[in-house]
Symmetry: C2
Subunit: 333 residues, 2 copies
């Protein structure tokens, strides 16, 4: 039974509570911290986009196509569909000689409500570029074109480009990824069930380069620097990943995933972090992740205040009255 990681209060009562598992692991695979079961395979969903972006950079494709740091950050993103995100995805595709017609992620209105309202007010309609995964998909298209693969069908597990992406994820997490642990993600690419222990180990490696070939270690460093310089591009207005990295810069790399997943690297400590809320609640994964980062990575001043607010967010109502809060429990250390 996983412990309660996060409580949601209203007045002086706990209104709801989120169970889950979390771990901090160093690049040698040693467990620094553990709460709950970390050997059950879970779908990391979008939390591993940075690992899936490694082939784009380590092969030299990103450099050959002239992708900017902002575009590399977008390749790791679950973005809000704000104007800058959409423009960057379109730019990536143009650099590969393609356009949005080759994206296979599906179309939805921007995740950010204000961006949706702006698009609607302008008489516009969403395209695949607004899909929160369009940066990742544009990265796949760039990789395919650079490799000389026909990008058509790149979302299939058997497409050569997707095989390269999956191989990187497999190697980073030390996990065999095949049809037995495969599901289909919201954007139609494969997602593979991987234990938190392996995910955290992969993120310890991603943050340090330890246990990685030189080209891949260099690619991880490039990706971390690109995201640290462009935290808006990995998520957007109001989002935890953007706020946490804006507050801490290159001291942390983090990425949430659907159904309550949070993964992070803390390069200066050599640690990787992985969290899964049993119930799939993103709000709780974010609080748990921020609380672990806050505890492990001492900071001061404005950064400390920003991180503290993410680890213990107030709940306010439609009149702006504070009615409760979310808070990490003692199970998080």
């Amino acid at each position: 039974m996983d412990p309660i990681l996060v409580e949601v209060t209203r007045g002086d009562r706990v209104e709801s509570a989120h169970r889950g598992a979390a771990t901090v692991i160093d690049a040698s695979g040693s467990v620094v911290f553990q709460a709950g079961g970390i050997d059950t395979a879970i779908f990391p969903r979008s939390a591993v986009k940075s690992l899936q972006a490694l082939p784009l950079v380590e092969t030299g494709a990103a450099a050959r196509l002239g992708l900017t740091e902002a575009e590399i950050a977008l390749a790791c993103s679950s973005h809000n569909g704000e104007e800058a995100h959409v423009a960057a995805a379109a730019s990536m595709l143009a650099k590969a000689g393609r356009d949005s017609s080759c994206l296979e992620c599906g179309t939805h209105w921007p995740s950010n409500d204000a961006a949706t309202r702006r698009l609607a007010a302008s008489g516009g309609a969403p395209s695949a570029l607004h899909n929160n995964c369009s940066g990742k998909h544009s990265g796949f298209v760039c990789l395919a074109c650079d490799r000389g693969d026909d990008p058509k069908g790149y979302i299939s597990p058997d497409h050569p480009t997707m095989r390269a992406v999956t191989a990187a994820l497999s190697e980073m997490t030390g996990t065999v990824l095949d049809a037995r642990n495969r599901g289909t993600d919201g954007c139609s690419i494969p997602t593979f069930a991987i234990p938190l222990r392996a995910l955290a180990t992969g993120f310890a490696r991603f943050g340090t380069g330890n246990g990685m070939a030189p080209d891949r270690a260099a690619a991880a460093k490039t990706i971390r620097a690109a995201v640290a310089a462009n935290p808006f591009m990995v998520a957007g207005t109001g989002r935890l990943d953007t706020k946490l990295m804006a507050a801490l810069g290159a001291r942390v790399f983090c990425k949430g995933g659907a159904e309550g997943v949070f993964c992070a690297s803390i390069p200066e400590l050599g640690y990787g972090i992985a969290v899964k809320c049993d119930d799939g609640a993103g709000r709780a994964a974010q609080v748990a992740g921020a609380a672990l980062v806050e505890r492990l990575l001492q900071s001061g001043g404005d950064s400390a205040a920003a991180v503290a607010e993410l680890a213990r967010p107030a709940i306010t109502n439609w009149n702006g009255i504070r009615v409760g809060e979310m808070r990490p429990t003692a199970a998080l250390g």
Copy 2:
């Protein structure tokens, strides 16, 4: 430890799982079914709006003001902010000689995404009428005006109108409601922590009239008929409460509440139902509620298919591919 009530699958794996408590109780207070702990007080939030609407009807205020059935249904609603909802709230206030300026619920864009986009595309902006609680608040204003109370400050626990509303909730659930079990709801009115056992008993009474004064029993019947005739008004496009009552008509009255609450009456069986998901997940409360209704209330044909779809909804991705489902567990009987 509450059991897992609902599982969320992806491929052939359980990706997330929701624990919670649920009960079915008859109007005498006898437990017909129980899963998990039903004596812990939980905030029912919007699930008790129908009980809070009883004074509006039982005092004759609704009849004197000429409220329609659709407007009475809206007084029990957490609506989508679609055009018909907004118009009905404005009409209720006009019948009381008031307008939206006296609503104290706060303002937000419509809960329904398409309604938000229509409002944005028209160059409009939301008012308090778009707040999902505006029907309930308009009912409070109608009650206050009919009673001769100044509606100003009606959201306060100590306002005479709110005292009358709270008294009805207290009597229906047989629970003392005071500052010790009080929190503040999203729309700024008090919400009181009440055990599932008491909530389900209250809804058994609401569905049968048993244990209620004649005027209140008649008011409950009026409210149930009003909602059965206008299921769109209690929620709106795509929403579970609307779909379940559209499928089953007057055979069920149901209402969800924030943070994973579901309450229902099944008049023909004399049962009340109450569900709380520990983690606050509305998606799971809806599946659990629909599953209990499906099990208790045999139906055939299109109704059965509609209810089955609510109790076991498919999860599809942005390309329309079925990637998983939500399903009730054996803990729900």
